[in-house]
């Protein structure tokens, strides 16, 4: 790798990292503001203009809080839990194509940290590790509520990961690649995957809600039954890390949904604007962020609309509804592909 490449990647890594942190920070503000608006309230409006400094105030509060580690807790694991949750949350942004490419001094730099050819698998793998953060935290707290929350989280994640993986298989069958960048490139203009894979998209977004522990699947931290769920015993910035990780996950999930099903940085009439390559790329990135923000808003919209599932309902939906539907979707896609490529005759004979 050349020096220019290295410098560009280094800048890009720092940029992606800080952007996801800032977005996670302001997601907390957005969540409170959106929740307030849905409930005919005004939301935080005291810290700074329109309450825009509220996330900073919250952060300062989190840092200043007393740090309590329960006497009966396993200290090392107790610290490892939130660290792992945060670590895995930050790792997923690596394979997402944030934009097309920039041409600087005649050299092309892709706006992605790394284009792994198994990008989707990488995301699934890292997200699965994320459950360890919750599980270890819940276990190390040595508290019934935490343990129950952790148990719920892990079983829920495993159940929904299956349906999620299945729903993506149909998409992979159509695209013929696992690289997220290539999947995005296969959706030029408005030829978005959501139009050819509506069922797959529906399954995927439901599973994405479950994976990020958002309502209606927020049983791991359901206040009404489990105090705080897996983070009952956590305080100060460790709690902050858990909450922060949830928002980063939400941001990354939105980015993945936008990339896989809504054309990523593609938008209609992309080539008829007559702009330079770099301008189109930057515009594409802006459009991608627009899509991401819409999905973050959608996450919040759902949260303040739908009540929480009961645990048996959650499991039933996961195993008896989503999984069979995902399999059905695969079969339908397979039939369609066979018909499209006229493989009926060749494969039947």
């Amino acid at each position: 790798m050349e020096t220019a490449d290295l410098i560009f990647k280094a800048i890009f890594v720092v940029a992606v990292f800080s952007v996801s942190l800032v977005i996670a920070m302001y997601s907390t503000y957005a969540e409170r503001k959106v929740a307030a608006f849905f409930q005919d309230r005004l939301g935080p409006n005291r810290a700074g203009p329109f309450g825009l400094l509220q996330p900073l105030a919250d952060g300062v509060k989190m840092f200043m809080k007393e740090e309590i580690i329960p006497a009966q807790a396993d200290k090392n694991l107790f610290i490892l839990g939130p660290a792992l949750a945060m670590f895995t949350a930050c790792m997923t942004g690596v394979v997402i194509p944030w934009g097309d490419s920039l041409i600087i001094n005649g050299k092309e730099f892709i706006m992605q940290i790394t284009d792994v050819n198994i990008g989707i698998l990488y995301v699934f793998g890292v997200v699965s590790i994320g459950v360890y953060g919750i599980m270890i935290g819940g276990w190390a707290s040595n508290n019934k509520f935490s343990l129950l929350g952790a148990l719920r989280a892990s079983s829920q994640m495993i159940s929904y990961e299956l349906a999620m993986g299945m729903s993506i298989i149909a998409l992979v069958m159509m695209s013929g690649t696992l690289s997220i960048r290539e999947i995005v490139q296969l959706q030029p203009g408005a030829h978005w995957n959501v139009f050819v894979q509506p069922l797959g998209f529906l399954l995927f977004i439901i599973c994405a809600f479950a994976e990020t522990n958002r309502t209606p699947f927020d049983l791991p931290e359901c206040e009404t039954e489990l105090v705080g769920g897996y983070h009952t015993e956590y305080s100060s910035m460790k709690l902050g890390f858990y909450l922060f990780a949830e928002y980063i996950n939400m941001f990354i999930s939105s980015a993945i949904i936008a990339c896989l099903y809504f054309g990523g940085y593609n938008f209609p009439f992309i080539n008829s604007l007559g702009l330079s390559h770099n301008m189109v790329s930057i515009l594409g990135t802006v459009v991608l962020f627009g899509k991401i923000f819409f999905f973050i808003f959608f996450f919040m919209w759902i949260r303040w609309t739908i009540p929480r599932f009961r645990y048996d309902q959650l499991m039933r939906v996961g195993w008896k509804v989503l999984l069979p539907l995902a399999v059905l979707n695969i079969v339908l896609t397979a039939v369609y592909l066979l018909w499209k490529h006229d493989l009926w005759s060749t494969s039947l004979n």
Binding site: F38, D40, W301
Partner: protein, 179 residues
Amino acid sequence: MQLTNRSKIVVNKQMSFIEKLYLPAIVGGLMITMRHFFRKKTTISYPEVQREYTPVYRGHHVLKRDEEGRENCTACGLCALACPAEAITMTAAERLPGEEKLYREEKYASIYEINMLRCIFCGLCEEACPKEAIFLTDKIVNADYKRDSFIYGKEKLVEPVDASKRVDISGRLKAHRKS
């Protein structure tokens, strides 16, 4: 036997396929929340914006003076008697020569205390008063840290002599004279 006409027959109807999908219901719910999103907010941002009080609002008490700046109260004790919360106490004293400018009649309250934590702001003291001396105003009793500081003496209750600083009780007075 049917006691009321409000009873309803329970129907254990099975959900149809569309209903079992839940998606139409979810979309309906989303539309409802979205309508609320754009609705006018009911919040009043308090210190900056203050809601208008009704003219007959019952808040902080005031002990009135007459036009010449003399205290109306004669320490008859009817307000204390009328008070259902037993929040009012007073000590009567005789007006000395030379104090005619301070007190309207021969007897006055040397100590007049209302415990604002006991007071229920019902306005019965005002109704009981034969001298139109005590009124409730639209002022709010401030929060404080100690219970003792909620016992308001004359220094907090009696209105200033200065004509421009008099407490306006016209709203209450109207209601008072009507009853």
